[in-house]
């Protein structure tokens, strides 16, 4: 490992209207190392990445590349120098094929004409290297699952052949199996001397892959160069949040055996993704759905919610059968869905936070159709405070929030509505450790107040720690249904992967 820094950053400052996203960041990356960035939601990690990759211009500070001061005025300049980035918000172009996306901006071409066969071939090779030979280079990226889109983003970054690869929460949408493949690729790269900046909210991952750690808090470096394997978890959490957290998962109360069934799903099937799904959730119960990415869990939730039309089967809430394929009916029956893709399915990005929160419960703030905005703001402010949305302020436009904070806004919407049934698809994706435990507390508290909760998560630990009962989904079928305390992580992983060739 060379001592000379490939990239070093000093006193970096970036302002947005009303917000100082970065207010003095220092750190350096050496060739061949995996440098992890840690920090709470809104700490400035993504902003830092964007500055380093030329997507944002810094207001102050100095960036040195191989010892020389540089200013990456635009992404092309950064790419030319050998910096490749995978952004948190997966900036792919729906409508273009996988291969087109991989080579967008640095197309393989002869006098302007694209070499499509070449691009396809190299894309296939890159995808195979990332453990996903099944993604066809000709598919429309917009039709891939988020996980597959993440893989395409990685293929894109690899195709740039950079010396510094920056990854902003690449594992958030991947399942454990895929994370393992990703780590394999990272090790391969670092062995060739490529430096990697890795961002994740999962401390276990950082221990596994990281060499050094830099912690950001409120746009400032609070610690840099910590040895990833040795540093204590409590120390990291302390640095990030300023407080001590010992137990992430809240205490489970045993579900009252006399509690009534609230959600009752029988024989649910759609045209091709899943079938024979039976699911019963009692009042006060949290049911977790584990499974591989692409196993059809999101589709199951969306179908229960009426956002997709079921081909067969019934959904009952409190004993009343719901009409198929109507979200309105489901919502009126007391259901709420926290969708998987917050940007495209969850948020009104250009609207204020409070409007995003109250959108599903507007009628409770309205008299004769006229809204009481004051009440809306007050209630929203309470919720955002509980969830620690940063920066505070319910009048902020959601687009300006960091990824994790956006997720909390979606969650707040359904907390506000006081549902009978809450369906949560990856509720803590991109949420930092501190806020995560708060969200767990909230889910638990909701359940204890009699709500039936269904949680889909690719994080097996989360499913086991949070749920009373665990269902394992494999290729569109429920292959296991039992209490959470009668099963452990390795058993779940076995079930999940049975017959899977990985």
């Amino acid at each position: 490992m060379t001592a000379a820094a490939l990239l070093s950053v000093q006193g970096l400052v970036k302002r947005f209207p009303g917000v100082m996203a970065l207010q003095g960041v220092d750190f350096d990356v050496r060739a061949g190392e995996v440098h992890c960035l840690l920090g709470q939601n809104g700490a400035g990690k993504s902003t830092l990445i964007k500055v380093l990759s030329g997507a944002h211009r810094p207001d102050e500070g100095e960036i040195r590349w191989r010892g020389e001061v540089v200013s990456f005025g635009n992404p092309t300049a950064a790419m030319r120098s050998g910096v490749a980035a995978i952004y948190q918000e997966l900036d792919l172009v729906a409508g273009l094929s996988v291969a087109d996306n991989v080579f967008l901006g640095h197309e393989l071409s002869t006098v302007g004409f694209t070499r499509r066969a070449d691009a396809r071939r190299r894309t296939r090779a890159l995808l195979a290297r990332l453990g996903h030979p099944e993604i066809a280079p000709d598919r429309d990226v917009g039709r891939l699952s988020v996980a597959h889109q993440q893989v395409v983003s990685m293929a894109r970054a690899l195709s740039l052949d950079g010396q510094l690869l920056i990854m902003d929460e690449p594992s958030a949408v991947l399942d454990p199996d895929e994370v393992r493949v990703l780590f394999g690729v990272i090790r391969e790269l670092t062995a060739q001397g490529v430096a990697v900046v890795y961002i994740s909210h999962r401390l276990a991952e950082i221990r596994e892959i990281g060499d050094r750690v830099t912690v950001l808090k409120d746009g400032r470096t609070v610690a840099t160069g910590l040895p990833a394997r040795e540093v204590k978890t409590s120390e990291l959490i302390g640095l990030m949040t300023g407080r001590v957290l010992d137990n992430v998962f809240p205490q489970r109360k045993p579900v009252d055996p006399a509690a009534p069934d609230v959600l009752n799903v029988r024989g649910l099937a759609d045209k091709k993704r899943f079938r024979d799904v039976d699911l019963t959730v009692r009042a006060g119960e949290v049911v977790g759905l584990a499974g591989l990415v692409g196993s059809g869990r999101s589709e199951i939730l969306e179908t229960i919610y009426g956002a997709r039309k079921a081909a067969e089967g019934t959904v009952e809430v409190d004993g009343r059968r719901l009409r198929r394929g109507s979200v309105g009916v489901a919502v009126r029956a007391g259901m709420g869905l926290c969708p998987e893709e917050r940007k495209s399915q969850g948020l009104l990005l250009d609207q204020a936070v409070y409007r995003n929160i109250t959108v599903s419960s507007m009628s409770s703030f309205a008299r004769f159709g006229f809204l009481d905005e004051r009440a809306e703001r007050v209630r929203s402010a309470q919720l955002t405070e509980t969830l620690d949305v940063r920066p505070a302020g319910v009048d902020r436009v959601v687009r300006g929030l960091s990824g994790g904070n956006q997720q909390k806004v979606v969650l707040a919407r359904w907390l506000l509505r006081e549902c009978r049934v809450l369906l949560l698809d990856e509720p803590t994706r991109g949420v930092d450790v501190g806020a995560r435990s708060e969200i767990y507390e909230l889910i638990r508290a909701l359940a204890d107040s009699g709500v039936a909760v269904v949680v889909v998560s690719s994080d097996v630990e989360e499913v086991l720690g949070l749920a009373d009962r665990v269902l394992v989904v494999r290729e569109g079928r429920v292959v296991h249904d039992g209490p959470a305390d009668e099963i452990d992580e390795s058993r779940v992983l076995d079930l999940v992967m049975e017959g899977h060739s990985a």
Binding site: G18, V327, S344, Q345, G346, L348, Q351, A352, V359
Partner: protein, 341 residues
């Protein structure tokens, strides 16, 4: 961004002032629309300098407002549709069809026997029905709004021609013109109607669940659907609302010209969309401002008034108009950016 979001987002300072909805009503459009106000003021200055008293005359101002009234009503409706992520090219044709239907001999016969309000109702009914058809085609038939309303444009104008046999139909119902030609405290009824529609539109868009849903549907229809909003029904309502506005505009136009004709409302679609977009409503949906639209309409009507007062040739008018539009938009953007929105 809706007017009030911007207004309260800017300074986090005075929560007391925020609460007063009257203050908000006054402060927000002005804050948001500084550029438009400046453009309009400059235009008026231009008018005063070049045409002096003839421009600043009360009668002239009322003339401008009267001219703005008809297209203004349509533009307010258009603001809803565009904010909701749609577009409607058929507004002019709907105005024509409504005006013709409301002035057929049959309608006039009934109105003569009962009350002239029959004519107004007929126009509203026809307009609303056309809007409903547009909305259904778009929401349930899933025809792209641009194409669906282009088709309606052709069909409605054709129908208007068939019904009127391409003749201008003259209105002879007593009381009808008298009502619309009257003034309330010196303000012509037409202008009063426009003002009422604009204020009602502002309230509907910014203070009701309907308006909030409109922003949601236009901003991210998938998210709105998953949040439990019936996006398709709402879309139908938006087009029906615009249809009603067209019907009302037709009634106003009948009163103003004493006629119904298949040629009424020519190119209203462009005028209305231009006023809405120059006002700051996003063509892609999710952001809309009624105040901006009203300023947009006023800018365009004042412009042609100033041109006429100056006896400018039509060609020169066109060139100047192009330049002024661009300047107004640039002004609006620079000022809006500076005010931190």
């Amino acid at each position: 961004m809706s007017e009030d979001t911007a207004a309260v987002a800017a300074p986090q300072s005075t929560p007391v002032a925020k609460e007063s909805s009257v203050a908000a009503l006054l402060a927000s459009p002005a804050g948001r629309n500084t550029g438009l106000v400046v453009a309009l003021v400059l235009l008026c200055l231009g008018g005063v300098v070049t045409a002096g008293d003839r421009f600043a005359d009360v009668d002239n101002v009322l003339t401008i407002l009267r001219l703005a009234a008809v297209i203004g009503v349509v533009s307010v409706g258009m603001t809803f549709v565009i904010t909701g992520g749609g577009i409607d090219l058929s507004v002019g044709a709907i105005v024509a069809l409504s005006s013709v239907w409301a002035t057929t001999l049959a309608t006039q016969g009934i109105a003569n026997d009962t009350h002239w309000i029959v004519i107004v109702f007929t126009a509203l009914l026809v307009g609303g029905a056309c809007g409903l058809v547009n909305g259904m085609l778009i929401a349930y038939g899933r025809v792209v709004a641009f194409i669906a309303t282009l088709a309606s444009l052709a069909a409605a104008r054709g129908l208007a021609e068939i019904i009127s046999n391409r003749k201008t139909q003259i209105v002879n119902v007593p009381g009808f013109a008298a009502f619309f030609d009257a003034s309330v405290l010196g303000v012509p009824v037409l202008v009063v109607i426009f003002a009422v529609v604009a204020v009602a539109g502002w309230v509907l868009l910014n203070r009701t669940t309907f308006g909030r849903r409109t922003f949601a549907v236009g901003g991210n229809p998938e998210a709105a659907r998953l949040a439990g909003i019936d996006v398709r029904r709402h879309t139908v309502l938006l087009y029906a609302l615009l249809g009603l506005c067209c019907g009302l505009a037709a009634a106003m136009l009948i009163a103003r010209t004493t006629t119904g004709s298949a040629t009424h409302g020519g190119l209203y679609e462009l005028d209305a969309i231009a006023a809405v977009v120059i006002g700051g409503t996003l063509l892609s949906g999710g952001r809309g401002t009624i105040a901006g639209t009203v300023f947009g309409v006023l800018i365009f009507t004042t412009l042609s008034n100033v041109f006429t007062l100056n006896n400018l040739s039509i060609s020169a008018q066109a060139v100047a108009k192009g330049a002024i539009i661009v300047v107004a938009v640039l002004l609006q953007q620079r000022l809006a950016r500076r005010s931190g929105a």
